[in-house]
Symmetry: C2
Subunit: 139 residues, 2 copies
């Protein structure tokens, strides 16, 4: 078994679970592309261009995501007071609740993994993945 599949399959499973649980929790408008926004760290106070780069999509694509989330009441775009044409994305109360819910779901997933693998093995796994994260391997 090669490292590609070993990482990809669990990552996909977590992704599906997050979306499913979010929908079940009442955030029924949230779908796959919206997750580009809610990835850590959240979009609160950021500018659209920064969010686009972070998510690895074009500014235009990010703008479509932002517009749909704004329509659905998850965030709002306001003018940045000091910096020219720049705008700022702010989560609404509903957006903040969705973000907190994602965090809760991930906590629950981590708990299940810790039970399944044992807390020690799960801790080792996270430690190793953090070393990968901090290495040049993922650049």
């Amino acid at each position: 078994m090669l490292i590609g599949a070993l990482l990809r399959v669990p990552a996909q499973a977590i992704h599906r679970r997050i979306i499913g649980d979010l929908n079940a929790a009442g955030f029924t408008e949230l779908r796959v592309p919206h997750m580009a926004i809610f990835q850590y760290p959240g979009p609160d106070g950021e500018r659209p261009g920064v969010l686009a780069e972070r998510a690895g999509i074009s500014k235009q694509a990010m703008n479509q995501v932002l517009r749909s989330l704004e329509t659905a009441g998850y965030l709002e775009r306001s003018d940045a007071p000091d910096h020219g044409r720049a705008r700022i994305v702010r989560l609404t109360r509903r957006g903040a609740m969705a973000y907190a819910t994602i965090h809760d779901i991930l906590r629950d997933i981590e708990h299940q993994w810790a039970v399944e693998l044992g807390p020690r093995a799960f801790g080792n796994l996270k430690t190793l993945l953090i070393r990968v994260w901090e290495s040049p391997l993922v650049r």
Copy 2:
């Protein structure tokens, strides 16, 4: 840092690297959706429906991927002699070369990870991920 991002980011990095290296190696037609075909184990001798289920997409979507790969000369679909309406996907020489190249790229990635983390830590990481793979967590 939560487990979702820790798995997702390296998995995406590997995915981008595979496609980039494949294109650089002369397989310029291969793009994201084509990877659904070349995931382990390869498509050689399989039927379209099985490939669709394995990739998690509909039979129709898989059929479009197969057609584009057939047009590009990576595989061919032939009638299965014994089993009724069933058809069989066969890699051409070019398709087999692409598959082998993917394998080489993954081997190279694993080598780089082993150097970066140390062989022992990398072995531990794979062992832990295999335990996840075999658990009900990813179902």
